[in-house]
């Protein structure tokens, strides 16, 4: 175990070193793969029962860096390493079109980023956790700043840095409160002692932790950095940030919220559930209004984190309300969705990167017809899009199904008040699912299908295999985990009941490797439904192609009907047009602003040029963060008058201080 740890550390370090010093990035990529493999092996061993518990001699005496591998950590390490391996393979090829300096920077920082995320999940005490956490934030910040010459990137990076730092400070505060109350910085001791703390203190700690992890996980009021920062990072890094880094925050929330703080008052769970509902609905709504592909995906991360948070919230409620089964299922749902989102979101970002690599850019309105030109990328994008939309038989559906189950169970068993919350959750989840599907119809339909809208899209070619294979692997996993839901659900349920100390309910929760059965009311999904589905589709397809051939003339390809005219490249439905009804229907939330400028010759009816510009009001920027920023700056401007340049004033400060001290201090 310890050797695996050291070799993983060494390999990632070597990868960073090679990335920084060598012209050729291949060695760096190989070393990063080795690092990922070492940590993956470590995680697998840990999941099989081996234990690692080491102290690294860093920092002055009372501090130490303790690392451990409980099953929960091992799961996340496996996730990070697995996705990290694929992203590294992709990244090795992707950075080829970067300038030398940027390529080196990306190759150096990516392994460090992976390493720091791994270490966060392995950390077992305050110092180790926070150091790895901040290292994670800083490396990702540096990666976001890859295109640092552009002013909007500087702004995006700054917003990210500040938000993440504020989050880290909240965590620090929470951890220090715990340290102060328990006299130790070790997670194990916290877990033992935290339940005995004063309720007010525990709640304060919980809120701080929620703020800290919530800002990293991009729960709704704290999400503003994400749609700024993710699009500007290199695509595989965006994939890692969105697919994995947000999950590290989820890990933290589970670790502190469940293992350390234990069952809290009801409002903890309700708060998390409410934030989840808010995040999922608003995330997907904002995604719909976007036509920058990577920003759109970034907003979907907000949505999916919201879904995860809904699971976590229900689990917290269940833990409190002494419904262990409910809690276990809800936490299983959250864990499952965490893994799912890591898979499909990374795949989506990789595909978005491939499209960018192919020279098409990020704007959906400039794409079109890419499925024919980039078949593998297109297929992986289609599969990942269906998965993220929560459609059967893909993995996104399984975790949403589990979330529905937990919400329904909460509605059935939790009493009137909780039932109402559960209803809100169910409806929000349903709305989210429908909107997400709509959004990804837009992405796949406008991006991949139809005809190319620009020259660039016409000239697009498939990317090298090193780039599309990782995406295909991820897409394959999405399908596989959807068809065989029990493969993950069973171990996750075991893990969840371990985290919740609900060991006795385990055997009934999930049986078999392929079938998910819940111990209530016979609700289950499994391959049967999907097999029927597959059979029906196959039968229909066979029938359609075989039976028809004899009775009708051969198929023909013709130009589509366009009211008798020719269809120009831009007369297809664009992403903007597609989202128009949504903008109108949800106008209360979007507060859309539009301007149409019409230029006409001779007569108003003869228009020469119509320019349409529509955008939506950034509600949180304008109404939440704007006032805060203005307030801070106004305060600062006021405070700056202290140093007015007058020596007499300064002397006066001394005099007044002295007189006040003499007068009031005894």
């Amino acid at each position: 175990m310890i050797w695996l740890l050291l070799s993983g550390l060494g390999a990632y370090g070597l990868a960073a070193l090679c990335g920084a010093c060598l012209r050729n990035g291949r060695l760096a990529t190989l070393a990063a793969l080795a690092g990922g493999a070492a940590f993956a092996a470590l995680a697998v061993l840990a999941l099989l029962g081996a234990r690692l518990d080491v102290r690294l001699p860093l920092g002055p005496p009372p501090f130490a860096l303790r690392l451990w591998t409980p099953p929960l950590s091992a799961l996340f390490v496996l996730l990070i390493s697995g996705v990290g391996i694929l992203a590294s393979v992709y990244g090795g090829a992707y950075v080829a079109h970067f300038a030398e300096q940027k390529r080196r920077a990306v190759l150096t920082l990516t392994p460090l980023f992976l390493l720091s995320m791994t270490l966060v999940t392995l950390a077992a005490d305050l110092a180790a956790f926070l150091i790895a956490w901040e290292a994670m934030s800083l490396t990702s910040y540096a990666l976001v700043m890859t295109d640092g010459e552009r002013p909007e990137v500087v702004r995006a990076g700054y917003v990210y840095l500040v938000m993440t730092h504020v989050g880290a400070v909240c965590l620090l505060a929470a951890f220090l409160l715990l340290t102060g109350a328990t006299g130790s910085m070790d997670f194990t001791i916290w877990a033992g002692a935290a339940s005995a703390l004063a309720p007010g203190l525990r709640s304060a700690i919980f809120v701080l932790v929620l703020l800290g992890f919530g800002s990293k996980a991009a729960l709704v009021p704290l999400h503003v950095w994400l749609p700024r920062a993710h699009p500007v990072a290199p695509s595989h890094v965006s994939g890692l940030m969105s697919g994995v880094m947000l999950k590290v925050a989820v890990y933290g929330l589970i670790l502190v919220g469940f293992t350390v703080l234990g069952p809290g008052p009801l409002w903890w769970g309700l708060l998390v559930l409410a934030l989840g509902v808010l995040s999922s609905v608003l995330g997907v709504l904002y995604a719909l209004a976007e036509h920058d592909l990577k920003r759109l995906l970034a907003y979907h991360s907000v949505e999916n984190v919201g879904i995860i948070a809904m699971g976590l919230g229900v689990a917290l409620i269940g833990q409190r309300a002494h419904l262990p089964l409910l809690a276990v299922v809800a936490l299983t749902a959250a864990l499952y969705h965490t893994v799912n989102h890591a898979l499909f979101k990374t795949a989506l970002f990789l595909d978005a990167g491939s499209v960018q690599y192919a020279g098409v850019g990020r704007n959906l309105d400039r794409m079109g017809g890419l499925l024919a030109r980039m078949p593998w990328t297109g297929v992986s994008l289609l599969v990942a899009a269906a998965s993220i939309s929560g459609l059967p038989p893909f993995n996104g559906f399984v975790s949403e199904w589990l979330t529905y189950q937990s919400l329904v169970r909460l509605g059935a068993r939790g009493g009137p008040l909780l039932a109402l919350c559960a209803f809100a959750g169910v409806l929000a989840l349903a709305l989210t699912g429908g909107l997400a599907a709509a959004c990804f119809v837009k992405v796949s339909g406008v991006g991949l299908l139809g005809r190319p809208r620009t020259e660039h899209a016409t000239r697009a070619r498939e990317v090298p295999p090193a780039m599309y294979v990782p995406a295909l692997v991820l897409a394959g996993l999405c399908l596989g985990l959807g068809l065989l839901p029990g493969v993950l659900a069973a171990p996750f349920a075991a893990l969840a009941s371990g985290v919740l100390h609900a060991g006795s309910v385990l055997p009934q929760t999930a049986t078999g490797a392929v079938l998910v059965t819940l111990p209530w009311g016979g609700a289950r999904i499994g391959p049967g439904a999907f097999a029927a589905f597959a059979l029906a589709v196959a039968a229909t397809a066979a029938l359609a192609s075989a039976a028809g051939r004899r009775v009708r003339p051969a198929a023909e390809v013709r130009a589509p009907w366009a009211c008798g005219g020719e269809i120009g490249l831009l007369s297809q439905y664009s992403a903007t047009a597609y989202a128009k009804p949504f903008r109108q229907v949800f106008g209360l939330i979007y507060r859309p602003v539009r301007s149409v400028q019409v230029e006409s010759a001779v007569h108003p009816f003869f228009r020469t040029r119509v320019e349409y510009q529509g955008e939506i009001t950034p509600v949180f920027d304008r109404y939440v963060y704007g006032p805060v920023l203005t307030g801070v700056l106004a305060l600062a401007r006021y405070g700056r008058q202290l140093q007015s340049g007058s020596l007499r004033l300064y002397l006066g400060y001394i005099l007044v201080t002295l007189v006040l001290l003499l007068t009031f201090v005894r």
Partner: protein, 310 residues
């Protein structure tokens, strides 16, 4: 094995009956509008006619365009297998629950919307966009419809839902609200009048038809069949949730039961036709309010259920 046999049997039966139900609805509408109207079997003839036509595809279309009709039909048929149509539980009821059925419906819509965008025409995109937003709004309404019974049963499995609905007070506020919502939802899901107009190809008002404008011949036949099957499925879904008698709860002699259930369906289909005839097309942007009313009605039902109002 018998189970699979039953499944295949039911699938075939559904495919066979679905056009008839469609015909029944068309017939009702014609009668109410004072027209002579086509015969009950007209949908069969239309399907056969389409099936024999040449298959024409638009230039920009990819394999999605070809796959979509097959997928759509397969998806809908698979969905019918887990919903109790004649018997409770359905042939494959043990493997799919309410959520799966809603998911499959969404999948069908997703696939067809993609096909609409695949044609590269303005109409396809227009239809897809509108279809998507209707779908997004219908999904919560569907869930809301099932909420009272989910809460009562503590489960989302079909047998439990049907049993819960059947065991509840027959004439209660909850069911009354639910029926109202169910009507709205089924009108929307089947693309009928206040939401969409299945009988028109007037460009600016259509939704579903705009999406499928480029389909013709056998492909269109498959889609139409899928649409009719879905219609049946939605009726069954609403019936199972709100008027489950015959399928669950009420014990009928084995010979009478299928007949009774078929009669129930006929009544529901006719009711759908009546409802459509009574309503005028809504402006597209009024739809959220309309579907929101459904969601509100059924949520109110669920809340009443929780508070013990029967």
């Amino acid at each position: 094995m018998a189970m699979w046999g039953a499944a295949v049997g039911q699938a075939l039966a559904v495919l066979l009956v679905a056009p008839l139900v469609h015909g029944l609805i068309q017939r009702t509408k014609a009668a109410l509008q004072g027209r002579h109207g086509p015969g009950l079997l007209q949908p069969y003839f239309t399907l056969i006619k389409l099936w024999r036509r040449q298959d024409i595809r638009p230039t920009p279309a990819s394999w999605i365009f070809v796959a979509a009709p097959r997928l759509a039909l397969g998806i809908v048929v698979a969905a019918t297998l887990s919903v109790p149509l004649l018997w409770n539980p359905a042939p494959l009821g043990w493997d799919g629950d309410f959520v799966v059925v809603v998911g499959l419906l969404a999948l069908e819509r997703y696939v067809l919307s993609l096909a609409g965008l695949d044609t590269g025409t303005p109409f396809g995109g227009l239809g897809s966009s509108r279809e998507s937003i209707v779908g997004a709004l219908v999904e919560p309404a569907l869930f809301a419809l099932a909420l009272p019974w989910m809460v009562l049963a503590g489960s989302t499995a079909w047998p439990a839902l049907v049993a819960a609905s059947a065991s509840a007070t027959p004439a209660s506020v909850v069911r009354f609200f639910g029926l109202g919502a169910g009507l709205i939802v089924s009108l929307a899901e089947t693309g009928r009048l206040p939401v969409d107009n299945p009988d028109t190809h007037l460009e600016l008002t259509m939704i579903h038809e705009a999406m499928l404008l480029e389909y013709s011949g056998p492909q269109l036949a498959l889609i139409s069949l899928a649409q009719m099957t879905k219609q049946l499925l939605v009726l069954a879904l609403v019936a199972d949730l709100l008027v489950p008698w015959g399928v669950g709860g009420l014990a009928l002699p084995p010979g009478v039961q299928p007949v009774a259930v078929l009669a129930k369906w006929a009544a529901l289909a006719a009711g759908l036709g009546v409802a459509e005839s009574l309503s005028a097309k809504l402006r597209f942007f009024r739809l959220p309010g309309y579907l929101g009313a459904a969601a509100a009605l059924s949520s109110a039902a669920a809340v009443l259920q929780v508070w013990g109002v029967r």
